[in-house]
């Protein structure tokens, strides 16, 4: 059942329309990613969903509530982490979590969040003394302190080291397994691939592609097979195989491009000729390919 529903969302700043009709749904317990280049409208879209901006057109429902209505129940079920939001310089990590905890009826324990976000040894450190990554982790912790049903996280792990990133991913997966719905804006293909059940790619204010990470990657194109043949093989023979779209010689190696069936057909053809494929490499399409393809099309 969708907990976030967005239909025909449009937003204009002055004369510039930044969102030209976005449709999006997120089911309960899903982790959905919004990807797109800078200035694509990702942040504007999630700010409209979070009720921080009023759309010019379109319908949005979060848990059945219109975010533009200022309904106080929205703030109970929705936790948001914003880009570029700082806390007072002299507040400590634990004080910040305690402060935000006081806004909710049944907050997560401060110690649990400190531990989950690797901030236990910084609990009495002032915000101004925290590193960028620590400030970022605190900001995510504050979005989750009220046990939200829906969490919107904008640039979740930007600037974090790989270990901290993994820890946050693990925690979010745990929350999603418990039923928390997560909508995240990200630049990181790795993050989207690892974490998201589904992805929307937004470019220039439109959804240009959507699906599971694997679906998007598969749609981006085929596989690449490269090998060192044990004896020469005529390239045209390979090109005529079903599923093969391109064959080229790269020094001693032969590189074959094709669809998902191509690798199997190439290997079968080599076997019938008694040729072995040395140093065989088969690389599948990645989300990066999908992303670059859809955002560079125009």
């Amino acid at each position: 059942m969708p907990i976030i529903e967005v239909n025909g969302l449009r937003k204009t700043y002055g004369a510039r329309e930044v969102l030209h009709g976005i449709d999006l749904t997120v089911d309960e317990g899903e982790i959905v990613g919004i990807l797109g280049p800078n200035g694509a409208g990702k942040t504007t879209a999630v700010e409209c969903i979070g009720g921080l901006r009023t759309p010019d057109a379109g319908a949005i429902r979060v848990g059945g509530i219109d975010p533009a209505s200022n309904d106080p129940r929205l703030r109970q079920i929705l936790g948001m982490q914003l880009q570029q939001c700082r806390l007072p310089a002299k507040i400590t990590t634990a004080e910040a979590i305690d402060l935000f905890a006081a806004f909710y009826p049944d907050p997560r324990p401060t110690d649990e969040l400190l531990e989950r976000f690797g901030l236990t040894s910084q609990r009495d450190q002032r915000f101004e003394k925290l590193s960028g990554g620590q400030q970022q982790r605190l900001s995510v912790a504050l979005a989750l302190v009220g046990r939200p049903e829906v969490a919107i996280l904008d640039e979740l792990t930007t600037g974090l080291d790989p270990a901290a990133r993994r820890d946050i991913w693990t925690y979010l997966e745990h929350l999603a397994a418990e039923g928390t719905t997560i909508l995240l804006v990200t630049h990181s293909m790795e993050e989207a691939q690892h974490l998201c059940d589904r992805i929307y790619i937004i470019d220039a204010g439109r959804v240009v592609s959507q699906g599971t990470p694997d679906e998007l990657a598969a749609a981006a194109g085929g596989q690449s097979i490269s090998f060192l043949p044990s004896s020469p093989v005529p390239l045209d023979d390979l090109l005529s195989l079903p599923g093969v779209t391109d064959v080229r010689q790269d020094r001693d190696r032969i590189v074959v491009e094709g669809d998902a069936a191509a690798a199997q057909n190439v290997l079968a053809a080599l076997t019938t000729r008694g040729v072995t494929a040395g140093q065989l490499r088969v690389t599948g399409p990645t989300l990066d390919d999908a992303y670059l393809r859809v955002t560079e099309e125009d």
Binding site: G50, L52, P72, R75, Q76, L78, G79, M80, L82, Q84, C85, R86, L87, P88, K90, I91, E95, D98, L99, F100, A102, F103, Y104, L142, A143, G146
Partner: protein, 245 residues
């Protein structure tokens, strides 16, 4: 604990961690009144001050000094910084409205003004100056005085979005208030036209009100009307123009 209470406690803690605020608004005025009270000459009535002693003449000035530092400089700076940091916006994403933070900051500044005012009004009693009855009236009158200063500070915070500019304009406004309250030139020697202008500023009205109360003179309607007018105008404009982002 309500959101406003939690924010109030937090603001109190952050203020105590900012020594500049505590020194300028609490320590300096309180030390100044103690020093003045302990100088015998400052307790004698002076012809030049219209028959007031130095302590009596400067006690309201110190109240104006502390109130204007807090309400006109500190408050617009704190609120402006919160807006600039995105902290007000961040609060909008929680069940706490940024209005709760505004209420907490105003309440805290009000409490500090009243506490400092209480010290400034009651310390002279320990040096045998004034009477308990008169100083009780002074303490009660601190409430409309503090309200007017808060309203002017809220006005500045609302109409000037940049915290440094707001604080700078606040400093200039504070200096005018100090002048009107007789910090540099005793109010008794103001020429007639200047006294009239000064009396319609919050600084002049506070000084005139508190001086009358402390010396047992009749309290006129003019300073009270002046303070109420500034309070109503200041808060009305502030509420209409304040922006969270």
């Amino acid at each position: 604990m309500s959101a406003t209470t939690a924010l109030f406690r937090n603001e109190l803690r952050l203020t105590l961690r900012t020594p500049a605020i505590v020194i300028w608004t609490v320590v300096i005025p309180v030390v100044a009144i103690i020093v003045m009270c302990s100088i015998p000459g400052a307790r004698q009535p002076l012809e030049a001050f219209g028959g007031l002693s130095v302590v009596e003449a400067y006690q309201p000035t110190l109240v104006v000094f502390a109130a204007s530092m807090l309400a006109l400089q500190m408050m617009p700076m704190i609120l402006g910084q919160y807006r600039e940091l995105g902290f007000l916006r961040r609060l909008r994403t929680t069940p706490a409205h940024p209005g709760n933070l505004l209420a907490a900051v105003l309440a805290l500044i009000l409490v500090i003004i009243l506490v400092v005012g209480l010290f400034l009004s009651t310390l002279p009693l320990f040096f045998g100056l004034g009477s308990v009855g008169r100083q009780t009236l002074v303490v009660l009158l601190l409430i409309p005085c503090a309200a007017a200063f808060l309203a002017v500070g809220a006005l500045l915070a609302a109409v000037i979005p940049n915290p440094r500019v707001a604080s700078g304009v606040g400093s200039a406004t504070a200096a005018v208030m100090w002048f009107a309250a007789g910090m540099w030139v005793p109010r008794a020697v103001f020429p007639g036209w200047l006294a009239t202008v000064a009396d319609w500023t919050p600084g002049g009205a506070v000084a005139s009100l508190l001086t009358s109360a402390a010396t047992g003179a009749a309290i006129g309607w003019q300073p009270l009307v002046c303070l109420v007018a500034w309070t109503v105008i200041g808060f009305t404009v502030a509420i209409r123009t304040f922006r969270w982002e």
